[in-house]
């Protein structure tokens, strides 16, 4: 019988621990497919974060590091400086990258560190049980904002892509989503472009992927996809913020 669908070689043959309906699985697969298609698996070194994707080092089929919370970009810097011709990437969530790890991500971008960052933004801390993240939407209820996030008390959600796009070391910055098949295809293109940016030694590249957390948002997976489109996309507009071939407006 002809094979019509198969596991990408970019992922190991193990079951992931992600909750049903979570879009981490899609994003993992896209990164795996891109690495397989670009023939990077023998050359890639990944860095996993702390958070829901803490076990990503088991899932990507290449050499991996597991970093301390928020420190993946610093760890990837160490790896990349030792192996400048290897493909080095981090895979980080919004608690990891946008809260405890802001120093490391900002300075990795600032140095133009030639690494690729896959930034998964689901507007909440998933692994620890649904606490408020810096990316949590105004009014969104979490276990540490039970009445809904109040901007007067905790500020407004951080727009990481826009912030990093102001930094000259950033060569490629794009925000994508995986809530619909057409968006999944666009997300894959962006991930590929980010890895190509690194291959061409053009500097820091990051793809922010809007993602769902049905478990901690407390809604079924299909509704979660719609919630992302209705609530996150207006505040976190999709698009490219920085491209090596585009003039940057300042």
């Amino acid at each position: 019988m002809p094979v019509v669908f198969d596991r990408t070689k970019g992922l190991t043959d193990v079951e992931t621990h992600y909750c049903p309906g979570c879009t981490h699985g899609i994003i993992h697969r896209l990164v795996g497919e891109v690495m397989e298609e670009m023939d990077l698996l023998g050359n890639a070194i990944g860095v996993a974060p702390v958070g829901c994707s803490v076990l990503a080092y088991k899932y990507f089929n290449c050499d991996m590091h597991e970093a301390a919370h928020g420190r993946a970009p610093a760890m990837a810097t160490g790896v990349k400086r030792v192996h400048p011709d290897n493909t080095v990437f981090t895979y980080q969530g919004d608690g990891d990258l946008a809260s405890i790890g802001t120093n490391e991500i900002v300075h990795a971008a600032h140095r133009g560190e030639n690494i690729t960052v896959i930034f998964v933004n689901n507007a909440i801390y998933g692994m620890t049980g649904g606490q408020m993240a810096p990316t949590t939407m105004i009014g969104q209820r979490t276990t540490t904002s039970p009445l809904g996030r109040d901007a007067k008390h905790t500020g407004e959600p951080i727009r990481v892509s826009e912030m990093l796009a102001t930094i000259n070391g950033s060569a490629f910055i794009e925000r994508v989503s995986v809530h619909k098949p057409a968006h999944v295809r666009k997300a894959k293109k962006a991930i590929r472009a980010a890895f190509e940016t690194q291959q061409q030694k053009q500097g820091f590249s990051l793809v922010e992927v809007l993602s769902t957390c049905p478990t901690n948002w407390g809604i079924p997976p299909v509704e979660a996809l719609q919630w992302l489109a209705d609530n996150m996309m207006p505040y976190y507009p999709l698009g490219n913020f920085r491209h090596p071939e585009k003039e940057v407006q300042s």
Binding site: E66, R71, A74
Partner: protein, 353 residues
Amino acid sequence: MEKILMKGNEAIPQAAIRGGCRFFFGYPITPQNEIPEYMSRELPKAGGTFLQAESEIGAINMVYGAGGAGARVMTSSSSPGIALKQEGISYIVGSEVPCVIVNMMRGGPGLGGIQPSQADYFQSTRGGGNGDYYMPVFAPANIQEAVDIMIEAFDIADYYRHPVMLLGDGMIGQMMEPVEFKEPPKRDLPPKDWATDGTGGTREPNIINSLRLDPADLEKLNIKLQKKYQEMRENETRYEMFHTEDAEFVFVSYGTSSRIVKNAVNQLREKGIKAGLIRPISVWPFPHRAFEELPASVRALMAVEMSHGQMIDDVKIGAAGRWPVGFHGRSGGMIPTEAEIVEACENMFAEVK
């Protein structure tokens, strides 16, 4: 090779380069700034990479990455900066990544001061970060010793797949002494077949990781680490016995304070008190065995430190109740004087003899 006059904070990084260090990640903090400055100038000439990190936390995590990727790598800092690095050091131990850390201690707590201190004995010898861990910590008393240890430190780190610390203070860093760079003793080092350099499609992925969610697995790692610590205790314990053969009163002191104690020992002997000194060179593993070598003539021990008493805990363990243990220490960057130490000994000796 002839001796050359060098400042501690320049001789130490030179020794590191000779020891094979090719990557340095650090962040400025007094009193060790000459180390990163020297590395920024000299490491590229040796084909290496110096990178100033955004913070001490960034620096130690770059070390963690580079060490995991197979490089000979180091960082240096001083007390409050080491406090920030301790998260990373704990992960480095858990992931069994070799690296070298230099700590030029200054006075604390908090921002403290910038003058020499030994107030971070606990921080350095009791792990410091979270979890059940130790690392070899060497505390040289002069620049030659610092250089000898530094050249060898990378071999020790690679041999055990473990971080190694050189523990100095502002005095060791800032003073100048003649040094000679010598070849370290040869060690058979295992290949770094665990490092991440890309699978090349020819092997299973290598993973640098300290996470063990299964309690049985995590206990297994801890038991493996304990075996390393036992081997380190057996093979890396270093100390000097100074005039202890016929001693009646024995000081225990390390690093900068031990230099002053040596002068006090000589002066006490001129005054008729047979004094001696146990000088730990490795403060972890602590030379508890040195106490077994003391003669029957010993009446009392005294720990002398530039703190209010930290190493004294190890001295008491070594003494095991056999001798009274006195203490003399200064802190905050104050250096104990020879006269103070002589007086402290005379007072205690009058009570015990």
